[in-house]
Symmetry: C2
Subunit: 247 residues, 2 copies
């Protein structure tokens, strides 16, 4: 399927807005995806206003596509709607455990990806904002999310202004294991990462950040342990405040 194989993350968009019927069609494709028990424990918050974009922008660390894209979709794990239905029916629901947080994250992600594929099939481009999980309490306030609704990921959507080159991937054979996981030898690791390490862009990263190698750019610059711990604690606190249990 050529569409899937030619996927690029789009970070620069045309001014052109997305017609309502096209948006509806894309969202409809989203909710047709598989989900746990057909409970549809998710919600989609559509942002098109400049006011809301301006409030969300710093929470996504001012990545320019937040203001530039005509459309932002914040995909949320939502137990609020289902709980309300249960309350109306004298039914007692418990989604407080890690199992449900992960189920909800899976279902929200599957929904998001169907939206992406649908959008791309109509010539639109998308970008996932992983920053969503860094600032869930603040995003929740901006979008007026009630208790039980957790932002999982955000998509920027619009007509591509610039279509970048296809990014690299590890060889398929290094991701796929047959029947049992075959652990990697040092030699194997070296081989499978060599293409990535030798890209001009990688070499530039290493140089600009004055690191010894690409792995250190990831661990010391892009995804630092201190940041990971800070944002993980923030996320746990937010979820515990919401009634989730991690024990």
């Amino acid at each position: 399927m050529e569409l899937l194989k030619s996927h690029r993350t789009i970070r620069r968009y045309q001014l052109r807005s997305i017609p309502d019927d096209l948006l509806n069609d894309i969202l409809e494709c989203g909710i047709r995806s598989s989900n746990t028990g057909n409970m549809q424990l998710y919600s989609i918050i559509v942002t098109t206003s400049n006011e809301k974009k301006a409030e969300l922008s710093p929470l996504h660390f001012n990545q320019p596509m937040v203001m530039e894209a005509p459309l932002l979709l914040t995909i949320c794990f939502d137990v609020n709607r289902f709980k309300n239905w249960c309350l109306e029916n004298s039914a007692n629901v418990d989604f407080s455990g890690l199992l449900w947080l992960l189920n909800g994250t899976i279902d929200s992600s599957i929904l998001a990806q169907n939206i992406c594929v649908a959008a791309e099939s109509y010539g639109l481009g998308i970008c996932y904002l992983g920053t969503t999980l860094y600032n869930t309490p603040e995003i929740s306030r901006v979008l007026h999310l009630p208790k039980g609704v957790i932002p999982i990921t955000t998509l920027t959507v619009g007509y591509p202004e610039i279509v970048p080159e296809l990014t690299d991937r590890l060889p398929l054979g290094s991701i796929v294991h047959f029947e049992e996981y075959k652990n990697y030898s040092a030699e194997g690791i070296k081989k499978m990462y060599s293409f990535k390490e030798n890209l001009e862009s990688s070499k530039k990263f290493v140089e600009e950040n004055r690191k010894e190698n690409l792995a250190q750019v990831y661990t010391d610059v892009r995804y630092k342990s201190a940041d990971s711990q800070f944002f993980s604690r923030k996320l746990v606190k937010m979820l515990v405040d919401q009634g989730f249990v991690f024990e």
Copy 2:
């Protein structure tokens, strides 16, 4: 996009196996999907042997499609490969926090959904096995997963023997919120769930399980609080044993 809108979960498969080049093509579509920092923190375990299927089957509560489907794909969040690469490069990586568990779950799910769309575009059918998260330690043992590799979801894949009717969904308007989340009134909830409640299949569920209404079938039969707590605790324990931190 008609393909996405006509998605059905396939639980009955033909005996016909899937050619290797088709499998490769589908997996290639999977790894072209977006992922955090292009670190590809996932692995795919391919199961086609009857021996492995027989070991996995009880861990998926003996759902018949595990033995019947020619192909099982267990999609895992994998920090092992990346960590090995970092070790080779004197780089110190820390993915132990909840942020990374959720990032990895999102990336694995996006990958899984791309695989599903690719498979369906070739006339194959799929079923997500949510049971994967119920038995992660046991599945890890069967598939020889090392520390740092967590099974997130499993797909059964094959040529459909029986294609069921399209399942119901809540009206799109009840999932989508514009600019801000609009909480639901009791009246609104009643209205949006009435189609589902009045399906013949729903009425049959209620009757067979001797419950007052459909919500109670979900909460008292299908997704009981005691089960949720039991499997959540099991999941937390497994992840803590693997070095994850939930505080």
